[in-house]
Subunit: 139 residues, 3 copies
Amino acid sequence: MWLHREITLSARPRGFHLITDELLEQLPEITSIDAGVAYFFIKHTSASLCVNENADPTVRSDMEAHLNKIVPENAPYYRHTLEGPDDMPAHIKATLVGSSITLPVHRGQLCLGVWQGIYLGEHRDRGSSRRIVVTLQGE
Amino acid sequence: MWLHREITLSARPRGFHLITDELLEQLPEITSIDAGVAYFFIKHTSASLCVNENADPTVRSDMEAHLNKIVPENAPYYRHTLEGPDDMPAHIKATLVGSSITLPVHRGQLCLGVWQGIYLGEHRDRGSSRRIVVTLQGE
Amino acid sequence: MWLHREITLSARPRGFHLITDELLEQLPEITSIDAGVAYFFIKHTSASLCVNENADPTVRSDMEAHLNKIVPENAPYYRHTLEGPDDMPAHIKATLVGSSITLPVHRGQLCLGVWQGIYLGEHRDRGSSRRIVVTLQGE
């Protein structure tokens, strides 16, 4: 069984956001998979996907704070600056965090650990809605 | 053919560790796959998986040393600090390194390069045993 | 349908390079997949794969410039130094950027966003040709 679906996430402010529930609501077919895999791919180069802690919101804000430290705005050597100071750092963060995640599916559920959730990293100051391609495969 | 298996790795000290052999010992079914894929996903948010150099142990210790430089403890803006100074850096490292790897399988073997192995990144000072979900798929 | 293919990319200078077209030329079978997934895995530990912006070449040069800042050469604590100052940084960059990408395939095409392309990160000063294992799967 193959399922291909494009999901549109509403626009969010810059930072990391827990999106597990919003994704699962749009993927009821997962419950019918006994063994399989779910692929999530974000069709943008200034936002990212990853898996991290799902409970304490300060993990998300500390993640944003530290990524801003690792990838600061206005580095003197940036040349891709036309769209503003948040543009090039957004591309770099997208590469460091990643554009896709692959999660095992077992007995009708994503096999996330108890403390794990799916994060959207929104790296632009004014990001628009974001499109995620989900591919479900299994039996 | 689908195989879903949860593998428990024994607790390891903080740092990067070569775990290829320990994983393969628990996946004898790989030898029967002619063309396929192996997915490895770690069910924790303060440990990580990646592929890197399998020969010289100083690659692993240099990796740990430099990640501690990129993601230091006790950054003044960290607010997720209740579990100790190694907690928030561990979450950030897990996101930078990644929670999963996907490897091709061909003629009964993982298609790793000659110098490649699978690393566990243990990012806590006293990490417990770590659970990895492996999904094998192929024909 | 499973396809396993090893693609050899010609040697490129240190930096990030757009390789989407070079890969697609060697994967004509994608056009016959209605729903599926393409896995790309690089069999080297000092080069990397990621998805990022496909239009402005300064994104690639800024990415290289900033990764050199995050992962500098000649850090005093590096011990894996036998092969030169670009060796250990190359391993660290490969882990931060990643060794593989997974892309959805739909109606005969890779589902990349309009502004997305596949990057090769060449992290050695004199990298040789690079081998990428591609696994195509779908129906």
